[in-house]
């Protein structure tokens, strides 16, 4: 798209117009950023709840042994993976094997395929698949009560005795 913006002035104007409209819609509704991005916070809360991701990211880990970090990583990996798999069905963007040959046809989807190395000439291109990419084939985010403050990622826990 960047290329189209550079070479096509009219398209660039349309894009700018579109961005302005989106921004205007947001301001008109008067929604604060945590409401606009509530689903991102929901995801963060789920990763913390299931896999303690925010605890992990907030901690300085330089002084700990690999063994300690490894034990914590199991908690993060096990829990976040469970939540992640409930929210998304993830599939590779390219079906070929990594490290194997791949042909990129003309009119390829430039969002799904990124060319690297000696990018020249005309498609179809012959190359090697370095990373097969990832696509969220399905998105199943939970529904969140509107009455709650999305900024609360995890409540403080107080145990009564």
């Amino acid at each position: 798209m960047a290329w189209r913006i550079l070479i096509n002035a009219q398209f660039a104007n349309e894009v700018v117009e579109g961005l302005n409209q989106a921004e205007a819609a947001r301001t008109r509704a008067g929604l604060p950023p945590e409401r606009v991005h509530a689903s991102a916070l929901t995801l963060l809360a789920a990763f913390q709840r299931e896999g303690r991701l925010v605890d992990f990211l907030q901690q300085e880990v330089a002084g700990f042994s690999d063994e300690d970090i490894g034990a914590a990583a199991r908690v993060v990996h096990g829990g976040c993976r469970k939540a992640f798999r409930q929210f998304f069905v993830i599939a590779p963007a390219a079906q070929e094997n990594e490290g194997g040959p791949i042909t990129v046809p003309s009119g390829f989807d430039a969002q799904r395929i990124r060319l690297t190395g000696n990018v020249s000439g005309q498609p179809p291109f012959k190359g090697t698949l370095k990373h097969h990419g990832w696509i969220a084939a399905e998105v199943r985010m939970p529904s969140i009560a509107e009455t709650l403050d999305p900024r609360v990622i995890a409540p403080a826990e107080v145990e009564l005795s």
Binding site: D55, Q59, F64, A72, V75, G78, P142, L148
Partner: protein, 591 residues
Amino acid sequence: MSRHTVGIDLGTTNCALAFRDLSEGSGDVVPTPQLTAPGVVEERLLLPSFVYVVKEGEFPAGALALPWDKKIAYATGEFARGHGAKVPTRLVASAKSWLSHRSVDRSSALLPWQAPAEVERISPVEASARYLRHVVGAWKMSRKSDLDSEEIILTVPASFDAAARELTTQAAKQAGLQDVTLLEEPQAALYAWIESVGDAFRKTVKVGDVILVVDVGGGTSDFSLIAVTEQDGDLQLTRMAVGDHILLGGDNMDLTLAHHLAQGKNLDPWQFVALTYGCRQAKELLFADLKLKKAPISIPSRGSALVGGTIKLALTREDVTGVLIDGFMPEVSVTDLPRTARRTGLTQVGLPYAQDPAITRHLAAFLTRQSRIAEGKSFVHPTAILFNGGVFKARTLKERVTEVLNEWLAKDSGAPVKELEGADLDLAVARGAAYYGWVRHGHGIRIRGGTARAYYVGVEAAMPAVPGLEPPVKALCVAPFGMEEGSNADIPPQEFALVVGEPTVFRFFSSSVRREDRAGDMIDDVVRNEEFEEVAPIETTLSSKSGESGQLVPVNLQAAVTEVGTLELRCLEKGGSGRWKLELNVRGKEE
């Protein structure tokens, strides 16, 4: 005419929902949206059977709302289970096991068991009704239809007696489900298997086969025997026998592993729950990869310092073999009986958990107890085995049960069993229940067999009182073994006299092995006979409309099995038109 049949698996630890479209014959499992955290509703295939009794102000307004009930004041499902682990005094669990507990008043508000006085309690019936209400809400949301107009099949353990079945239908009524049909869980599992293999069914089983269903759920173990017979050239399935109610399941296994690993560690209750969960996953890893020597378990810190605060443990192959396989499925002989610990003078009235964790010993007891259908052998010889319950995702456990059973068979010159494979271990009961609804419409093969118990009323023998000796109790058979739904038993010749205006209570007994008794047969001294089990007493009061108070009215007792699958007892006035229903008293017997 309804459009779907809906199968509900009301499990001890998880509920599930499935349907079948009657016009298309297709169906599937219906995911249940549920609270997974305050304010967060997500879909899951299973609804954990837990109620969390919320304290006012504990959560922000609207945090418990479900799409179909914005004002709900309690939590069920995943959040109830997870949060309840941190607040055990407010957590209702295993309500279904309480439904079949004879020593307590099952209709009274007694759960959470041993909760402090300020916690509002609910009855096991109400807890079950709450799970059903949730499932009804989920159905309405996903299908946009009312369950009232659908045919609902509700599953119960085969070992549930008449009173527990009655209470289950009462819970359904409380949840707004007026018409439900009950189906035994092991039968549902077999229906699910039949559905999954399709036409291959007729190639896999043949006339003369005896299928043993071993259903080990989260909290209970349930056995059934189903025979393959033939009538007019058609294959028939007949349920021959069911086992006793055993409060022992997969949750006990994870808990045992957790206790084993927690020795010498200082874990708080929440960390112990995390360890139990970790044990289940580590166990599954070890079962999935037999070359693996040990599987690591990380228990997160309670505080935010995760790195450094995480406790590292490992479950080893020896733990799994020693604690789990040899503990729960030891290689025993078929004559080994489950051990029962001697009761001390003061026992708590909590759930009557199985005292012997050995599932193989319970299975041995079941097969030898059913000697009447053993055809002269020392125990019933199954020819095929069907496993059900998440526990059996581990091949090793299936193999152990099969090995032990084949060992017994070989010693008794029998042939080894074949395993019926292919059913979904977690969801088979719900799927099979929906399929059964379809079968009731004349498709596929139906399992027959009627009631798996005979029922008796106690008649105290007239004899001089002897101090310290309980007078022997005779029992009159009122409902023979194998009564089909919608049928009446013959009226026994014995007559009773009831006093108008005064409650009359009968002691009530059942037997899962006596199949020869007919209505009207009198059996001596049942209390000391191991073939009989005392169930909730039955009672009735003849209203004064039927005569003057204090007057004696001669009656006969008659039993009927309703279309729903519950037992109904009535008094018929001798030589008159009076009829009174006898109620099963579930308020607990005095011990």
